[in-house]
Amino acid sequence: MSVEASEVVVLPGPDLNEEKHGIKEAARRKLSSPWAVLVVVIITVLWTIPTVGLLVTSFRPAADAQNTGWWTFFRNPAVTFSNYAEVITGGTTMGTGIMPYFFNSFAIAIPAAIFPLILASMAAYAIAWVPFKGSTWIFFGIFALQVVPLQMALLPLLQMFNLGWSIGDIPIFPDLNKEGSQQSLLAGTYIPLWIAHTMFALPLAIFLLHNFMAQLPRDLMEAARVDGAGHFLIFRKIVLPLSVPAIASFAIFQFLWVWNDLLVAITFAGGTPDVAPITSYLATIKGSYGAQLHLITAGAFIAIIVPLIVFFSLQRFFVRGLLAGSVKG
């Protein structure tokens, strides 16, 4: 009678705000006590305070931010936008501003969310609806691939991008070095990041989308096949449109995952304003300008505002993706 893990892993997950099942309202209210409310309120406040501190500090004048606690702001409110101006333009202290990195994050995260989703939906369709020997085996194999930590793939992949790969004389991935130079053609582009994020996202994406697609009605597929539709047509006209909820959830999940990633970013993009994302920039300024609280808080707020907007506007999808994606790694 226990709740199976499927309820956590299978799309679509339950919503944050809906109360479809469960204990009746009356019972719920009866059990509710002022103490429970108090505990919840305290924890909620505790959980929110750190972020409020960041937001408040980012709007305080430099001297105030560095010499007094942010909570004194409420006694002595002085607001300035110059921290943001300085972080955006780079100002006198910080060299390049945050904007190149901000755009890099978009340029990395949007394709890195779309590529794996499309490839994963295709693979998930093949495993679920194209009958062939060994499909179950492949399904378990893909799920089990999550055992490989990102860390294991970093060095070999980096070598592949920089020096190419071959098995004996057969080239698997071309050596993209310009003649005589130590620079790969891929250096300074987003391509290694897109490829790496796509590779790392595939196992989970295939697993989740397969779970969703396998539940589509069999009659529908058979009717389409009787009408003479091939796999390519069925996938485009039936399976893709019906899978939009699952795809949307995972797209948001993957976008946030890539946006917030640091490890893949600093491994494949370094720290240059050409390609490095905003997380990489934040880690750098935290190290170099840690004392300039007014600047790093403004930078951090610019970096987290995008995920926060995505989160609050698409919370329902995000929660679904998260419930489904609880095994991402």
Partner: protein, 324 residues
């Protein structure tokens, strides 16, 4: 304005890549769609499964093999050194290993415990969604962002000057005269870093467990209540057994995330002051010390740590499929 204009080509190149990718697939689909007869199935499998299979093989399977092999080679990946790299880990990296073990025990248990408490408390409340959103919000923030947020909380100033970090100030309000420099305060700084992870993960545990609690059939709860089970008894005899599987999934999921924890340690202390963990040491060995043998061996240690957790999940998954 210039900053924004400079960014447009970047978005343009991303859009071009997406367009190119879609165009390529379109051509593939147009060709594949024309094929009829016996070849249709095999062609569909090749086109649908092929790209993902190639990427997963090149990106995960082969690298995993190469990393395992490379963990038996020296720093420059030239000479075979057998288990020297592992010997190095167990001889010199005890601090790193024990920190990582502390992390994978404390952070998941604390996050899941607190998340479960919140899920139970909220389950009985009317306006739960505001609290849930706010507690869940840190999940959307990157580890780096979270580290900056908490760096501000832990900021140290000498006790005679005005305080900037909230934690120091609260401790002083409570009557402690000279709060420690939190981030340097060994060994407790480890726990302060764990608090950041817990802050992020509690929302996740709460949302998933809350969904599981809502899925408990109401007749089960009503029957238990008729039999006189209330409060703690209802919780320990009915609620917990009913959500056991979900609890374990939440716990193992957070464990896997914690095992690979990197960003928080790197941003807060870079592994200094006795806070090093395996994932950050792995990065430092590979990309700072350029000792790929050590780096690979540390990656394999992570791999070995994740294996039991994933095996458990696969067994769980097979059980479920058998039920269906």
């Amino acid at each position: 304005m210039d900053e924004i204009l400079d960014g447009l080509p970047k978005l343009g190149s991303a859009a071009a890549a997406i367009a190119f990718f879609l165009a390529f697939l379109l051509v593939l689909f147009l060709i594949g769609g024309r094929i009829r007869g016996k070849l249709q199935g095999p062609v569909a499998i090749a086109v649908f499964l092929g790209p993902a299979a190639i990427l997963v093989t090149m990106g995960l399977i082969v690298p995993a093999g190469r990393t395992i092999y490379g963990s038996f080679l020296d720093a420059g990946q030239e000479e075979f050194v057998a288990f020297d790299n592992y010997a190095w880990i167990f001889e010199t990296q005890w601090g790193t290993l024990t920190n990582t073990i502390l992390w994978i025990i404390i952070a998941p248990l604390a996050s899941t415990g607190l998340g479960l408490t919140l899920a139970l408390l909220l389950d009985r409340m009317k306006r739960e969604s505001v609290a849930k959103s706010l507690i869940f919000m840190p999940m959307a923030i990157s580890f780096v962002g979270a580290s900056i947020i908490w760096g501000l909380m832990y900021e140290y100033r000498p006790p005679e000057s005005e305080q900037v970090g909230l934690l120091s100030q609260i401790v002083m309000w409570l009557g402690v005269d000279d709060p420690p420099n939190w981030i340097l305060w060994q060994p407790f700084n480890n726990y302060l870093l764990m608090i950041i992870m817990i802050w992020i993960q509690v929302g996740f545990a709460m949302v998933v467990l809350s969904a599981a609690i809502k899925n408990i059939p109401s007749d089960v709860v009503e029957a238990a209540e008729l039999d006189g089970a209330v409060g703690w008894k209802l919780f320990s005899r009915v609620t917990i057994p009913m959500i056991r599987a979900t609890l374990i999934v939440v716990l193992t999921t957070i464990m896997i995330a914690v095992l690979k924890i990197f960003d928080i340690v790197r941003t807060m202390t870079n592994g200094n002051f006795g806070t090093q963990v395996v994932a950050n040491e792995m990065y430092a060995q590979s990309f700072v010390q350029f000792n790929q043998g050590h780096g690979n061996a540390l990656a394999v240690v992570l791999f070995i740590g994740v294996i039991p957790l994933i095996i458990y999940n696969v067994i769980q998954l097979r059980k479920e499929r058998a039920i269906r």
